[in-house]
Symmetry: C2
Subunit: 604 residues, 2 copies
């Protein structure tokens, strides 16, 4: 099936192909001609998927498209302040060949005009055995997924047609605006303009800028986020068009064009757009490139005001831990106490980005906790981007909570928040259930120490048998056999048939299942007094889960054979036992129902 | 507990209070003095919460802060094109009092300089029995939560000091650039400048712009999104500062200041910031206002490039319907068939915004469906903003799916997507379970019509009793009594004690519970052949759920009294029954375990 996005791009491509204005750039090496019919559009996402239509794999010269990337390299090497001292960030309102220097400082207006680009080129030096040009080409290559090269033929042709730029370079040098010989700066600049890219390359370069400087295909950090911010700001006001305001108002995306026919536009956080079409208008801008940017910004609402509507709801849900208990099975008494204490622990599920709005709503919620809340679990597993401010605010809050004897816990296997926010040992958990179990254990110890899980429970005291008439539990216990397991040993495995009812006398049993992707996931922990094995009575009488000993474990088993025997010899007792187990089963059904009810807004 | 955001604002307020440069604006009505110590900061979120520090409820004159709002009103009344013909969108680089008209067209450079603001004021006329001024004041009031007024005293003082603006108005009129008498335009302009607001008002006005033009407190659409986009674009390049590029590069937020001491800045989609501090620098900009914007943009990463990092993952999860079956209980055979067919239906849970990136990832997923998929359920309940493009793309996709005989269904109670995307009747559901039940029913009808839910099942055929020895089911049936219920009648209610096991002979029973917020939620539907009532055997022997007849229903009940009697008279049969019910119970536990496992990444 065709993707509607591809279809859309084909339609835009077909419609914009009708535009036949403009002339290709005329400077080219001998024997290399430019085909004005070439027309490609690529759209690359911030996860590295590239949609391609038309001429997307033919190489062309970067020309002025090199300017923002060299500017990025200079910013990286020298810092913002040092580069700002040489090149301003103001739209010039002049065409790209204008010799436009500020009246007082002599600084070029910005790095997108030739004067600014020459100043930037003069800042980039060879180092580590590499020439300035090699360093530039390698740096550019970091924004795409292959090694780029600079064309000597194109460079030679350009150099023969560079009188204006020669004049500019010497003039700037005469004012002391270059950090190298004027001919060196000029050569570096002309060679960077001769770097060969395809439309596909250009879309990945744009997507890398959209992705805060990290190449979405290779994962390489091509440019730091502060430099990205600066480069995109200057592209926004000075990248494309002599009329800065019109571009910001009508397109609202940072963009840049080159006389080689390439145009790139960046939708920060979302995508990079590249167009290749050689015919240029009087300003040296690709006619179809500009038209495609305008068209797609309008159709796809890529304007910076619209595309920034995101980020309202960082809190996905808030539960008390009574609503979402851990998977640890408690005695009826402990479970009842925890239901009463459950409001003292809350779980906040976060989602999306913790930029300003998301952070604010989370902080607002955390600042208005009820007085009796003792534990706050932040479930950070769905968090995407986290701003610095979010870390700072949360760290403050964690301190405040600690001073009022409350604990902030994290479910945060990828460490999006925990290390940056909290120095407290043992406050980070991989699963939500384990974090909540920790809260429950602490609450029981603080408020009902007598109910903290006993280490040993006689079968006759097991909750499952508590509804039996007097003496029956003891009689059943006499029919059971004792078994012992070592830490990690499998007690019951997926696929085993029902072979009896297991009563845990001491130790803990963990239950695991495979999720949809085949990963092993913990479903909970059973402790002394609990039963298992009956689950195999369910569908097809086969076990669906695996149970393992955690530490050394003693169980008593009423085997399937013993039960068969009992049903014949003492049907009354067998019936009582089944009734008790039915009650136990429906207690569990009830517990699952409650859990599902608490998840209900998610699930149904 | 203090909010860390309030603490942060207090710290910024204290630090910026150290700035003692600048002089307040000197034009004021007699007897009204300006206190240079007044200093307030308000931060309003797009859900209408306002953080306030310092002098936030004292009124001051809007002055130039009125310009973007009157521009918005003119854009609303006349459309973008008509207003563009009168006022350009370019940064002027001039100070706000400059007479700066374009050489060829005579258009003022933008609506933020006085010439542009006069042209805009001349476009706003009285209508519907209201003067132009009243219409302006009412329009401004729509951005805050109270009725604003224009001060006559301030107007009179300003008029006595408006020689420069008088000259400008007459000059513009002489060039034919005003749509009213020059004195009328001037009066309208000076009166709009005299509208009195507080710092709190200003933050709500900014938050309304941040919220795409909808007032977050009142819900009123103060300005359409296209006009908001235009107003914020012009504020970005021309709102604050003579050096447009520096503001974009270093602050990156649309902003505007007024000589009354107010400054507003907009973080699109997230928040509105307002500062009140009268001392002005040489450009007429509030010294502390500008400093606070720079400081907070840096600290809180509000620059347009950084704040737009959002919106990567619109797809929260993808399940087959076998992984997340509906709550309708099926016979074992039907359930087995549905497990095999389950990959033919998929559920895609969406979250966050469907702007470009979110839409693209969703469309990409939907464009690469396996050939055998027959149903796609889009769960849109967590979707926030939806772009026009998203609707268009999805509508295309829905057509493509229909042509390949696939159905797109929506879980979309708030109609974020369904109506805009699909014209198909019955494709929208309020809960996920009902949408999946629809898929299951259709799949069963198409692939195993013989397993479509039978309308009547004898007790002896009930799955719960299928494991009994021959003849036992019939014997139990003889002990049961028949009961009939009307549509909507409650069969079992929360809190009732166990009173027997119910077998559904015909009709359907719905089960509901209350969720954490006390809302009634459907847990599923039982059909002929299913049992209920045993759940009350669970915790404390009391029913936790309510069961109602759906349509007319016939059940057979093995009452608690009959069961007691049976246990004494025929313990073998009672034991067999309990064993069968235990098996049935653990079948359900198993089913819940599977469901919980499919939710496991969410839950544990």
């Amino acid at each position: 099936m065709d993707s509607p996005i591809e279809e859309y791009l084909h339609r835009v491509h077909a419609e914009i192909s009708e535009l036949r204005d403009g002339q290709p750039y005329s400077v080219a090496p001998k024997g290399r001609s430019v085909d004005p019919e070439d027309f490609g559009i690529c759209l690359a996402t911030v996860d590295g998927y590239v949609y391609e239509v038309g001429t997307t794999s033919k190489e062309f010269s970067m020309q002025s498209l090199s300017k923002p990337f060299s500017y990025g390299l200079a910013l990286t090497e020298h810092g913002l302040e040092a580069v700002d001292a040489k090149v301003d960030v103001e739209p010039s309102g002049d065409s790209f060949t204008e010799i436009s220097l500020a009246p007082k400082t002599g600084r070029p207006a910005n790095a997108m005009i030739n004067a600014g680009a020459l100043a930037v080129a003069s800042l980039i030096k060879g180092s580590g055995g590499k020439t300035a040009l090699n360093r530039i080409v390698d740096f550019y290559s970091g924004f795409t997924d292959r090694q780029l090269t600079s064309s000597k033929g194109v460079y030679n042709a350009e150099r023969r047609n560079s009188d204006h730029n020669h004049a500019l370079a010497f003039l700037m040098s005469s004012f002391g605006l270059l950090e190298s010989l004027p001919t060196t700066a000029l050569e570096t600049y002309l060679r960077q303009c001769a770097v060969q890219i395809t439309c596909r390359d250009l879309s990945l370069m744009a997507a890398t800028l959209a992705n805060s400087g990290t190449n979405p295909v290779t994962g390489h950090e091509a440019l730091g986020v502060e430099a990205v911010e600066r480069v995109l700001s200057v592209m926004m006001t000075s990248g494309m068009y002599d009329n800065a305001g019109d571009w910001v108002a009508s397109v609202g995306m940072p963009a840049k064009s080159g006389v080689g026919g390439g145009t790139l536009a960046v939708l920060p956080g979302q995508a990079g757009l590249a167009v290749f079409s050689p015919p240029l208008d009087a300003h040296g801008t690709s006619v179809r490139g500009e038209a495609a940017c305008r068209r797609m910004s309008a159709d796809m609402e890529m304007h910076f005001v619209r595309s920034a509507r995101a980020g309202r709801s960082a809190i996905r849900a808030i539960h008390s831990i009574a609503q979402v208990p851990s998977a640890v099975r408690r005695t009826d008494e402990a479970a009842a106490v925890l239901r009463d204490l459950g409001d003292r622990g809350i779980v906040i599920e976060l989602t999306g980005d913790l930029l300003f709005a998301g952070t604010e709503s989370m902080i607002r919620e955390l600042s208005t906790l009820n007085d009796d809340v003792e534990f706050v679990v932040l479930d950070a597993r769905r968090v995407d981007e986290v701003s610095r401010m979010s870390h700072t605010m949360l760290a403050n809050l964690e301190q405040q909570l600690r001073h009022t004897h409350r604990q902030l816990l994290f479910v945060d296997p990828e460490d999006r928040l925990a290390t940056a926010v909290s120095a407290t040992e043992g406050s980070t958990f991989v699963t939500r259930s384990t974090a909540i179990a920790h809260c429950e254990d602490q609450l029981l110890q603080r408020h009902s120490p007598e109910l903290s899980t006993p280490s040993r429970v006689a079968v006759s005291e097991a909750p499952a048998l508590s509804s039996l008439p007097a003496g029956d539990a003891e009689e059943l216990e006499r029919l059971m056999e004792s078994r012992n397991y070592q830490d990690g040993e499998v007690v019951r495995r997926v696929g085993q048939r029902f072979d009896g009812v297991y009563f845990i006398v001491s130790g803990r049993i963990t239950t695991t299942a495979r999720d949809a992707e085949g990963n092993r996931v913990g479903l909970g922990t059973l402790s002394a007094g609990m039963t298992f094995g009956e689950l195999a009575l369910g569908r097809e009488q086969r076990q669906e889960l695996t149970q393992r000993a955690q530490g050394s474990v003693e169980v008593k088993v009423l085997s399937a054979a013993t039960i068969d025997h009992l049903e014949k010899e003492d049907p009354r007792l067998a019936g009582e036992m089944w009734r008790a187990l039915t009650r136990e089963a429906f207690t569990r059904v009830d517990q699952y129902m409650r859990e599902v009810t608490s998840l209900i807004r998610d699930y149904y």
